[in-house]
Symmetry: C2
Subunit: 418 residues, 2 copies
C-alpha cells in the first residue's frame, strides 16, 4: 500500500463528505447518532469478540498492563459507548446559529454564523471508546472525521467503523463522513498531520509524549493539550477552612488527572498558620511534600524541592510547595512554571482575586474553587473532545463549539459600497 496515496485519497473523500455534512439537518445528524447507539448495543458480542482479538495480540506482543487495561472493552464499556453517543445526540446543534446581526450605516446587516470547521483529524491511543466518541462529536458538529486510533485496537476500531458507516448510510449521509484509517503503518500519522489541503484541524487525544511528537511535525493547526501543572495559591486573606478544603480536593481527589493541583503557593505572612493543618491532611493521605527552604522550616516532614519540581506534573501523590512574598510573586511564579492549564487563588480579598483572574495566563483561572472543576462536563459543555492548553482558537475544555468556526454573513437587498 502506498501510504501517501492512501492518505491523499482519505483526505479527498473527507473533504467531499464535509461539503454534504455542512448542509445536513439536525434531524439527519441525530438519526445517524441514534442508529449508531442502537447498532453498538445490538452488536455488543461482536465488538467484544473483535476486542478479544486485539487483546490477545497485545498480550502476545507484551503490552504493559496499564495499556491493556485501556484497550479492554467490557460489556459495561460497550453500554457506556452507546450512552455517550446518545448524549451527543441530545446536545443542541451548534451549527447554523446566527449571532450579532446588526445594521450598519451603509444599510447592510452584518453578523456571524457558526459553521463546521470542515475535516477534523483525531489521533489517539488504543482506546476503542474514543472511536465512537470522536465520531459522534465530529458528526454532531457537522465535520467529517478522519480517525487514527492506536494500532493495537485495529480490529475493534474496524468493527466500530462498520457500525458508524451503517448508521450514516441509514440516515442518508455519506459513509466517508467518518473514516477510520485502516492501516497500522505509522507513516499514516505523518501524512495526516501534513494534509493541509484536506484537513482543517488535528485533535490529538493522548499523553503528552504523543502530542509533543506531533507538534514537531504538524503542518495542520492542532488543538493541543500538553501537561497540567496546576497551582493553588493561598493569599494572605485566604479563609483557612476554604484553603484546607480546596487544597484537599484539588490535590487528593484524583492523582492522575490533568486538572489535579501539583504545586501550592502560600503568602509568607500566613504560611506558618496555614501550612501545618494542610500538611497534616496531605501526609495523612500519603502525599509527599517537596518544599522551598521556608516550607521545610515550617514543616518537618517536607523534603527540599528542586527547581525542576516546580515545573513538574507529578500525576502522583506528591506536591511542591513554595512560600511567596505576595500576589506579585505568586502571579510571576505561575506564569513562569505553569503549563497554563488551570490555577486557583484562595482569598476573600476582591481586588486581589480580580488581579489573579486577569493576569494569570492560563486556560482556566479560579477564585475559591478546586482546580478539579476544569472539565467540559463541569463547565456545562455537555461533552469534551479535549482540553486545550493553547491560546489560539479554543482554550481550556473544548466542546462542540471548539469544532466550529464563525463566518461573517452580510444581508443586503441590492446594496453596494459607496
Amino acid at each position: 500500500m502506498d501510504i501517501k496515496q492512501y492518505m491523499q485519497d482519505v483526505g479527498r473523500r473527507a473533504r467531499a463528505a464535509s461539503r454534504r455534512l455542512a448542509g445536513a439537518t439536525t434531524a439527519e445528524k441525530n438519526a445517524a447518532l441514534l442508529q449508531l447507539a442502537n447498532a453498538i448495543r445490538r452488536d455488543k458480542a461482536a465488538l467484544i469478540a473483535a476486542n478479544a482479538l486485539d487483546l490477545a495480540a497485545a498480550r502476545a506482543a507484551g503490552l504493559e498492563a496499564a495499556l491493556l487495561d485501556r484497550l479492554a472493552l467490557s460489556e459495561k464499556g460497550v453500554d457506556s459507548m452507546a450512552e455517550g453517543v446518545e448524549q451527543v445526540a441530545a446536545l443542541a446543534d451548534p451549527i447554523g446559529e446566527m449571532t450579532d446581526i446588526k445594521f450598519r450605516p451603509s444599510g447592510i446587516q452584518v453578523g456571524k454564523m457558526r459553521v463546521p470547521l470542515g475535516v477534523i483529524g483525531i489521533i489517539y491511543e488504543a482506546r476503542p471508546n474514543v472511536t465512537a466518541d470522536a465520531a459522534a462529536l465530529c458528526l454532531k458538529s457537522g465535520n467529517a472525521a478522519i480517525l487514527r486510533g492506536g494500532s493495537e485496537a485495529i480490529n475493534c476500531n474496524r468493527a466500530i467503523a462498520a457500525l458508524v458507516h451503517e448508521a450514516l448510510q441509514a440516515a442518508g449521509l455519506p459513509a466517508d463522513s467518518v473514516q477510520v484509517i485502516d492501516t497500522t503503518d505509522r507513516a499514516a500519522v505523518g501524512e495526516l498531520i501534513t494534509l493541509r489541503e484536506f484537513v482543517d484541524v488535528i485533535v490529538p487525544r493522548g499523553g503528552k509524549g504523543l502530542i509533543a511528537r506531533l507538534l514537531a511535525e504538524a503542518r495542520v493547526p492542532m488543538i493541543q493539550h500538553l501537561d497540567g501543572n496546576c497551582h493553588v495559591y493561598l493569599e494572605e486573606d485566604a479563609d483557612p477552612n476554604k484553603a484546607l478544603r480546596i487544597v484537599e480536593n484539588s490535590k487528593t481527589q484524583r492523582y492522575g488527572t490533568c486538572n489535579t493541583t501539583e504545586s501550592l503557593l502560600v503568602d509568607r505572612s500566613v504560611a506558618a498558620m496555614l501550612l501545618p493543618p494542610i500538611a497534616h491532611m496531605l501526609t495523612g493521605k500519603g502525599v509527599e511534600i517537596r518544599g522551598c527552604a521556608e516550607t521545610c522550616a515550617i514543616l518537618p516532614n517536607a523534603v527540599a524541592a528542586t527547581e525542576e519540581d516546580y515545573y513538574t506534573e507529578y500525576l502522583a501523590p506528591i506536591i511542591s510547595i513554595k512560600v511567596v512574598s505576595g500576589i506579585d510573586e505568586a502571579i510571576a511564579h505561575i506564569n513562569q512554571y505553569s503549563s497554563h492549564h488551570t490555577e486557583a487563588i484562595v482569598t476573600d480579598n476582591h481586588p486581589k482575586a480580580m488581579r489573579f483572574l486577569r493576569e494569570v495566563d492560563s486556560a482556566s483561572v479560579m477564585i475559591n474553587a478546586s482546580t478539579r472543576f476544569a472539565d467540559g462536563f463541569e463547565y456545562g459543555l455537555g461533552a469534551e473532545i479535549g482540553i486545550s492548553t493553547d491560546k489560539i482558537h479554543a482554550r481550556g475544555p473544548v466542546g462542540l463549539d471548539g469544532l466550529t468556526s464563525q463566518k461573517w454573513v452580510v444581508l443586503g437587498d441590492g446594496h453596494v459600497r459607496a
Copy 2:
C-alpha cells in the same frame, strides 16, 4: 550579530513586557497611544527626513516604482498615521470583558474573560505607516508586539520605534511592549516564525508571496491571508437591477483589492437575459470577459476561459464567467475554485439564499450585497489588522478581538468537586 541569540532576547523581553501589559489599565494604554500620536505630529519633519534616507537608498538599489510609492511618507501620510493611532485609542478596550457567567449545579459560576494573546509578531513590507498602525492595535489589545518591516524602511521604522518607546515610557508601560527588529538580516524572520516559546501568533501583512513563504516554515500559529478569488452568483430568482448593480460594484469599484469579485456564476435559465446588460456595462469600463462555452455563445465579446482562469485572482479589469445549472453546481464550483475569502448570491429566493449562506465555505458570505463590503471598517470593527482566509481562531476581517483569546473563569466560595 548572532541573529538567533538576538531574536531569543527580543522574544524573552517581549514575553516579560506582555505580563505587565496584561494588567495595564485602559487609561494607561490610551495615554501611550495619544502620546504617540502627538509625538508623530511633533516630529513630522524628522520622520520625513528618515524616510528620505530610505527612499534614496531604495532608488539607488533600483527598487521598482510601485514599491517606492508604498515606501514614501508624505506630510499627509504622517498626519494619517497620527490619526490612525488616535482612532485606535478611541476604540473600546476589548480586554477584561467577562461574558456568559452562569451558575452550574455544583454551585460554581463559570464564564469567560477576554485577555490578550500575549506576544504578536507582525511581518510586513516596506510601508512605514504599518509600523505605527500595528503597534497601536497590539498595544490597545494588551499584547506585546515584535515588528519586522521591510528592510528598505529601516531608517523610518527606527524613528517611529523611538517615538513608540517614548510614548510607552511616558505612560509608565515597558518600552519592550513594542520592539522593532533592528536588523535587515532576513534570517531574523526565520527565527521569529519559529519562536514558539515567546511568540503566540504571527500576523503577516503583505502579498501572498510573503505569506506562502512564511507558511512553509512557520512553527508559530499564523493569522493568514492568502488570495481573494471572490465570486458573485446570479441565481434564477435574481432581480436584474440588483444583479447589474452588485456585479458593477463588486468588480469595477476597485480592481486591486482582495474583496473585488473575480468570477461570476449565472444560472442557465436566466443567463441569456442577465448577461448581455452586465457584459455591456463591463465592456464599457474596459473589463475583459473570459467565459465558458455557453457564456461565449451569449456574449460575442467574451473569450474562452481556461480551467486556470477560474482559480485566478486577477486584481485587474478581467472577469471569468461560468453558466451553471443551479445552486448545487454554484456552491460546488465556489467551494472548489474559491480562495474562501468572500462570495455573494443575488436572489430573492429565501430558501436558496439561506442554503448559500450555510453551505458556502468562505470567511464572508453575502446575500444581495457587493463583495466589496468585506472589510473591517464596513463590518464595524473600527480597525483591521488583516483579513484571515483561515478557519482557525479568526476568520475574515480581524479587529482587536482577533488579537485576544477567551479564558475560562470560575467563581466559587470554597467550592470543591464532588
